[in-house]
């Protein structure tokens, strides 16, 4: 099974508030509020760390959830965020600058 890599889309604007990320798509100005789990994924999306490693070290370590279930949920979420163009996903490391241009 191939690994999935994620990188934050530099075209999205993002801010953290009360521990959760709010992100606005640069494409269509749609606003997303990420829950705690999605926020961890977003903040870990450096383009270099595979999703299964993020899930194992950051999701499973913090939440009581089975690794396979957590990975399936995380992958589904990553694909959804990629569909909105606020994340980039690839089956190989992503080398574009991973800091969101609008992040503060």
């Amino acid at each position: 099974m191939s690994k999935l890599y994620m990188a934050r889309n530099p075209r999205a604007a993002a801010r953290s508030l009360d521990g959760e990320m709010m992100i606005m798509s640069g494409r269509d100005s749609t606003l997303f509020t990420l829950n705690r789990t999605a926020t961890i994924l977003w903040q870990s999306a450096d383009g270099a760390t595979p999703l299964d490693e993020i899930v194992e070290k950051k999701i499973c370590a913090e939440f009581e959830v089975a690794p396979t279930e957590a990975l399936a949920d995380a992958e589904s979420l990553a694909r959804e965020l990629a569909g909105h163009e606020i994340l980039q996903i690839s089956d190989g490391p992503i080398t574009t600058p991973n800091r969101t241009a609008g992040e503060k």
Partner: protein, 271 residues
């Protein structure tokens, strides 16, 4: 031999909203008169203008085609387009043109869009909200349609100066935000006063069985603010600027929920 070239008199006036003077040129005295009436209180004839627009009037085509507004920027020139107008504005040259029929609504839309573009780069914005000044402080009352913007404006006592019942003009000055009166009206159909004051509080309106003010979380405040901002351009840089402006505003200005019954006593809470 008759004159082959006739010099056409070019008429102009300055529409100054939010402290930003925009000169409008036309050759049609009736249209100039229409603008003077439409923007009464916001019109002057000063020399200095930050933007100059030439208005080219077209004959009405019967029914104007309905279309969403499209705002885009190419090579430093903004293109503004809707069914009833076409406009271009080149910020570097401070000039632009508007092609429309002789009506006040098209140029009104162009002005709103241009102001949102200018404000976005300066940390300000236009907001779907009523606003008013009391005791030297400005209060904003935001909400979707039917939330009560017009109602609370109509209920304002005589010591309140109404800035708008529909679209508030917010400009950032250092760590402070200032609200300006606008000629952009809602149901009340009454132009705001052309004055300004520092913003004291932004209220999100809710109708209820009692008058009360409740705090709301910064997250809810930011989300509500973002959903009530006016912004038309599909421009990633400006979208990001607007996004961050909302966070900055919420970090500096108290944002509350104002629940009210539709009678004048609600203004006892606004001081």
């Amino acid at each position: 031999m008759p004159e082959l070239i006739t010099e056409i008199e070019r008429l102009s006036l300055v529409i100054e909203i939010g402290g930003m003077p925009v000169r409008v040129h036309t050759i049609d005295p009736n249209f100039l008169n229409l603008l003077q009436n439409r923007y009464a209180g916001f019109v002057n004839h000063r020399d200095r203008a930050e933007i100059e627009f030439d208005v080219e009037l077209q004959r009405p085509k019967g029914v104007e085609p309905a279309a969403d507004v499209e705002v885009s920027c190419h090579s430093g020139c903004w293109s503004l387009r809707r069914g009833d107008f076409l406009a271009e504005w080149e910020p570097a040259a401070r000039r632009g043109w508007i092609r429309q029929t002789a009506n006040p609504y098209s140029i009104d839309a162009v002005l709103r869009i241009v102001h949102t573009l200018v404000l976005a780069q300066q940390g300000g914005f236009l907001l779907h909200s009523a606003s008013a000044i009391r005791n030297g402080k400005a209060f904003l009352f935001a909400g979707v349609s039917e939330a009560g913007k017009t109602t609370i404006s109509r209920l304002a006592p005589s010591d309140v100066t109404l800035l708008t019942d529909e679209i508030s003009y917010v400009r950032r000055r250092g760590d402070e935000y200032t609200a300006f009166g606008t000629p952009f009206t809602g149901e009340l159909a009454k132009l705001g006063e052309n004055v300004s004051a520092p913003i004291s509080t932004l209220y999100f309106l809710a109708k209820g069985k009692e008058n009360r003010i409740d705090p709301i979380s910064p997250r809810e405040a930011t989300r509500s603010l973002l959903s009530n901002l006016l912004f038309f351009a599909k421009d990633e840089e400006l979208v990001q600027a607007i996004f961050h402006s909302a966070f900055e505003f919420v970090s500096r200005v108290p944002v509350m929920r104002l629940t009210f019954v539709p009678d004048a006593r609600v203004w006892e809470l606004i001081r």
